[in-house]
Symmetry: C2
Subunit: 250 residues, 2 copies
DNA sequence: TGTACATCAGTGAACGCGCGTTCACTGATGTAC
DNA sequence: TGTACATCAGTGAACGCGCGTTCACTGATGTAC
């Protein structure tokens, strides 16, 4: 699922190349974790690996390509954490699964703050993300959608209604269009097939929950909660529960 | 409210110093807006101002001090936008005021993306925020609290209840302690006096709303919504309305 | 199995760049008598 | 009002640093006959 495997890299050269490509990326990730994205320098990576900086160009054509590899890996790692939580709780009540995914994501983020910042923090100046990142980036939201779909299929999900005290705000206008388009894209997606479609109203709620979740994470990791809910565990638990209720999983 | 004024800076030297200190900061802000925080270089600022880089050290003892000044200014600018929206809508229904503050914050953020990233994006590596930032940083949350307090006093606010379909999750344990401490801090704060205290339950809801709001902003400004609700206006409006309902302003 | 040639990984030097900060200096502005 | 001294803004050169990327090269690994 993660890396594509050459059956058994034929020549020693090929084996060495695969290995070094991985080692370079791993050393880069180590430096990223220690210093953050701007602390990442090709020269430092090469130094640590005992090679000369120009040698790295045999493996990554530029610093940006190395960064891209790290970004994709980070998205995949977090996506895998989310998917794993969903898979492990298959069959459990949807609310439990939802919470499990939330917590898995937070756990990953807390354990990989700099990688989190790399993908969800301020954009890196001068860096433009290539198309290859959008697949990995959507694994997290898709994990949530998966849980919601299963809940729908099992009839566990209260139809999006009664969110605020005055009941649900209706989704209309441009927002409805965007939601419908997104819903169509999901229906056409790979994992779709014969699962129930997600109503625009629910989809909007899911996206709200998604932004809320990452808003909390960014605040926690970037130090915005220091004066208030600093050890954020209790706050996060509570908010995640509210979110579950919000998407229809009381 | 913003800057302290020398009655009428006595000597020409003093006047020049005040002015240049401001000009340096403004040029720095211009470069920040153009390139982002790591694009900010003392030498470039000096160049643009027609002086030699070492001259800046008469005004700011180091790059970090200049950065700090920009950060404080950014917090103050956004805080002022929020406070202004609250002030202008004084007397209006609380829900309207809430939405006005949300929109004012977004408007500022969209118009000042790089300044937004400076204060709400990934922490700058090697930079530690001094104490002076926490006052300005809390103006936005305090603006929300102010609106909620007024709503409480006017009896407009439905007591925090019925958030999710299954009713409000209760606030207990460590979370309750943290909320109580925060509530006390607010009661002891400057703008408090004879206004009604904010119940922990409500406070937690307010903080959830706060994180949600900035979660959306970060996603919008940092490009995470590109595939879904890209022109985010409709989505933001909808979510802000949901948030108002969530804190008890249907 | 052995030789001749092609491929490719890694080297080392260099290019060209920009940065933050320090320091001894000069000349103008301010102050005290 | 005028002079003597102190304060301070701005200069220019320098220190010391690190970076991404290019390029001609060498020597080892792989391939074809």
């Amino acid at each position: 699922m993660a890396d594509t495997w050459q059956p058994a890299s034929r020549t020693a050269r090929e084996r060495a190349r695969v290995e070094l490509t991985r080692e370079i990326k791993e050393e880069a990730r180590r430096q990223l974790a220690a210093t953050g994205a701007d602390g990442l320098s090709l020269r430092a990576v090469a130094r640590q690996l005992g090679m000369v900086s120009s040698a790295l160009y045999r493996y990554y054509p530029s610093r940006d390509d190395l960064l891209t590899a790290l970004i994709i890996d980070a998205y995949n790692a977090m996506g895998e954490a989310a998917e794993h939580a969903a898979a492990v709780t298959q069959g459990a009540p949807a609310r439990e699964r939802w919470l499990a995914v939330c917590h898995a994501i937070r756990a990953w983020a807390v354990a990989h703050r700099h990688e989190y910042a790399l993908i969800y923090g301020s954009p890196i100046p001068g860096y433009r993300a290539p198309q290859d990142t959008i697949g990995p980036a959507s694994r997290v939201p898709l994990a949530f959608v998966g849980v919601l779909r299963a809940a729908l299929a099992a009839g566990e999900l209260k139809p999006a209604e009664g969110g605020g005290p005055a009941g649900s705000r209706t989704v209309e206008g441009l927002l409805a269009d965007q939601a419908a388009a997104l819903s169509d894209a999901l229906a056409a997606g790979p994992a779709a097939a014969s699962v129930p479609p997600v109503a625009p109203e629910l989809l909007v709620r899911a996206v709200i929950a998604w932004t809320q979740l990452f808003g909390m994470l960014s605040f926690e990791l970037f130090g915005q909660l220091v004066g208030s809910f600093d050890p954020a565990d209790a706050f996060f638990d509570h908010a995640a529960a509210q979110l579950a209720a919000f998407v229809g999983l009381p």
